[in-house]
């Protein structure tokens, strides 16, 4: 099996290059397993993020055959051979790569829409800042009763479960054409996380969260392309949450201060 990997060292090189590596054809070989094999036995200079190797930590988000995926839960044999692109394309997930033969090689590139630190490692500062900006924490009405939890109804738990499942891997941001054009866009993950608290019956903010997000960098930036829904490894479906919040925003009384 062969991987064609994008290499890039911004401090020393003008532009990225591609390098092919052969890896062993063991049953169940994942793209992450192949990257470890290369790093341990062929080229220790290869850089990529990892932690759990079990789709829990969300560290190994990268572009594999032009689709943002977690390297740990991607079987090499499943992505060999040309597969039609199901995403709406833009810059990095469009276009040809010289020398890449999709029939025999898996193309591995860094997650789009973030600056490259080195090789497959990207700088996700923007992603973490956006998350902090939506204030993703519980704002309850009052202190919790001494030594007790604040309990929820089971059906409320089920409503939130989808959003709680987010592992903050960033695949959604890396697949988003809007995030590609607009560096200020908060992005699907942060908005879905905000929905998690907006829907939480214990949180007092409710419409306040919608008002906070109803900006040019927030809900209004999203074009409802739904690439995020297609690439999410945890079925969080951020695009659906954003659409619902856009509808919520429509229902809110207008504070028309746009001046146009």
């Amino acid at each position: 099996m062969r991987l064609r990997i994008q290499r890039f060292e911004p401090l020393r090189e003008e532009s990225p290059r591609y390098q092919a590596f052969d890896v062993s054809d063991v049953p169940g070989q994942t793209v992450l397993g192949a990257l470890f094999e290369i790093q341990d036995t062929q080229d220790g200079s290869l850089a990529f993020r990892y932690s759990c190797r079990g789709a829990v930590c969300g560290s190994c988000a990268m572009l594999i055959n032009k689709v943002p995926r977690l390297a740990c839960r991607t079987q090499v044999k499943d992505v060999l051979g040309a597969v039609p692109q199901k995403l709406k394309t833009f810059g990095p997930i469009d276009g040809e790569v010289e020398g890449w033969d999709p029939e025999t090689e898996v193309l591995v590139e860094p997650l789009p829409n973030f600056p490259i630190t080195r090789d497959l490692v990207v700088d996700m500062t923007r992603f973490w800042n956006a998350l902090e900006e939506v204030e993703p924490w519980l704002v309850p009405e009052s202190e919790a009763p001494e030594g007790r939890e604040r309990l929820m109804e089971h059906e409320d738990v089920l409503t939130l479960e989808r959003f709680v499942g987010c592992i903050l891997c960033g695949l959604c941001s890396g697949s988003c054409p809007v995030a590609h054009e607009d560096q200020e866009f908060l992005g699907p993950a942060a908005l879905a996380k905000a929905r998690r608290f907006q829907q939480d019956p214990r949180d007092v903010r409710r419409d306040g969260i919608i008002e906070m997000l109803n900006t040019e960098e927030g809900l209004r930036a999203c074009d409802l392309v739904y690439n995020c829904v297609k690439v999410c490894p945890r079925n969080v479906a951020p695009g659906g949450a954003i659409r619902k919040m856009k509808e919520d925003a429509e229902r809110l009384p207008r504070l028309d201060n746009s001046g146009v």
């Binding site: 060292e9 401090l11 020393r12 063991v26 049953p27 169940g28 070989q29 994942t30 397993g33 470890f36 790093q39 341990d40 036995t41 080229d43 220790g44 200079s45 290869l46 850089a47 990529f48 990892y50 932690s51 759990c52 190797r53 079990g54 789709a55 829990v56 930590c57 740990c72 839960r73 991607t74 079987q75 044999k77 499943d78 630190t117 080195r118 090789d119 490692v121 700088d123 998350l131 902090e132 204030e135 993703p136 924490w137 519980l138 709680v164 987010c166 903050l168």
Partner: protein, 429 residues
């Protein structure tokens, strides 16, 4: 739980130093005054003053091949504490889970057998009938692990490989989809097979580290200002074998206590002097620069994989004195080669060759302690299963092992356990 903790930390404005790798703890006058850490993204070493330091780096499962643990569970934190004189406690007690997915060793939970999964060897035999005729696949974890390992050791692994099959195909598609959707998803994405159509290849794998940084019920170690919590710590709530679900006890209950105690200590401890840290920083810069400058065909990554394999083979599910002593010799030979190993990337930014080297250096430290602690304990207790000493020996071995760093390797001491709440008796099945 992890995400709620992260979100709460955001709310409190707690600064997180992402991708900083601690290379050394600084101890001065018997108290921990800070640490030296490598900023992986930039490649620079930094000193950080601290009145309290809490080690919460998780277990050291990756010292073994075939581990359910995350790839980062190398036990750096335990090795850091050991190198500043804190003993590591009960390091011989390593829990092995019977059914981990062949390849990635992701956990195939008890639920798969609970739903009626069959364990089958290369001859198509449900071999548990020979080990636990009544309970069959539902026998306790350690018994099932030893049974599977025996089948593999005696050449009845499927296709001659180091695994047996966990077969649920007879349950049918509907039941599998309804009752075991997570397991099915893992098999599809991580092993490339659908358990509706094909049996799941499984093997015993390392699962939990009962031992760790010796500390009291407030997470405090022998060094003032140094605390430990979670799987990295050894409060010894698990004794020689952890019961399912009890890792939460270690994180939620004792993790909280450690945090409260560390915060209280920080209130009263004197401000660390920056000069002490600067000397340590200079030493670490020199040490890391020396590693970075090495050009060698010997890769730490290759030595690591050899070491992990021999730890599993010599200190795994079954143990005996001869096999373990042989393993220790081989491991020390490998460790000696680390002095000659180099890194094949010399840049600063995100140098995983360097981080990998430092991790493997820590892992060898722990591997030696595990080996020596295991060889010394001449009995079988909990997860420590010796074929040459099959019985539990409360007269001589109802003690905790404390491994201190000595001048030429670990020095073992023994302390009596805290008893009195429950009557001590052997668990028999």
């Amino acid at each position: 739980m992890l995400h709620t903790l992260y979100e709460t930390a955001l709310r409190e404005g707690i600064r997180v130093y992402d991708e900083f790798f601690v290379t050394k703890l600084v101890v001065s006058g018997g108290r921990c005054t800070g640490l030296i850490a490598l900023d992986i993204k930039e490649g620079e070493l930094h000193s950080m003053q601290a009145r309290s330091v809490v080690i919460a780096t998780g277990g050291y499962g990756r010292v073994f091949a075939r581990s359910t643990n995350a790839v980062i569970n190398n036990g750096d934190g335990a090795a850091l504490a050991y190198r500043v004189g804190v003993p590591l406690e009960d390091m011989e007690f390593i829990q092995f889970h019977p059914t981990t997915l062949y390849g990635t060793n992701i956990l195939m939970s008890e639920g798969v057998r609970g739903e009626g999964g069959h364990l089958v060897n290369s001859e198509g035999e449900r071999f548990m009938a020979r080990y636990a005729a009544k309970a069959m696949e539902l026998a306790p974890r350690d018994i099932v692990a030893r049974s599977i390992q025996t089948e593999i050791d005696e050449g009845r692994g499927v296709d001659g490989g180091p695994y047996v099959n966990l077969d649920i195909t007879h349950l049918g598609a509907d039941r599998i989809k309804e009752r075991l959707p997570g397991i099915r998803e893992i098999c599809i994405h991580f092993a490339g097979l659908d358990p509706i159509d094909a049996p799941i290849p499984v093997q015993p794998g390392q699962h939990y580290s009962m031992g760790g940084v010796a500390c009291d019920v407030d997470g405090a170690t022998e060094v003032a200002g140094l605390y430990s919590a979670g799987e990295a710590a050894c409060v010894s709530v698990h004794g020689a074998n952890r019961l399912g679900g009890n890792s939460l006890l270690e994180t939620l209950v004792f993790g909280r206590r450690a945090g409260v105690a560390a915060a209280a200590h920080a209130e009263t401890a004197p401000e660390p002097r920056e000069a002490e840290l600067e000397g340590n920083l200079r030493e670490e810069v020199a040490r890391i620069n020396e590693v970075l400058s090495r050009d060698s065909p010997i890769r730490a990554g290759v030595l690591k994989e050899e070491m992990r394999g021999l730890m599993f083979d010599h200190f795994g599910v079954f143990r005996d004195g001869n096999t373990m002593r042989e393993g220790l010799d081989k491991m020390r030979d490998l460790r000696a080669r680390m002095a000659e190993a180099g890194v094949d990337y010399h840049g600063r930014v995100y140098n995983q060759a360097l981080v990998g080297y430092l991790e493997v250096d820590f892992m060898f430290e722990l591997a030696e302690i595990i080996a020596i602690s295991s060889i010394a304990r001449e009995e079988s207790r909990g997860s420590h299963s010796r074929t040459d000493f099959p019985d539990r020996d409360d007269d001589n071995w109802l003690v905790h092992t404390m491994a201190y760093m000595g001048s030429d390797g670990p020095r073992l001491e023994y302390v009596p356990p805290t008893l009195g709440v429950f009557e001590v008796k052997e668990r028999v099945y």
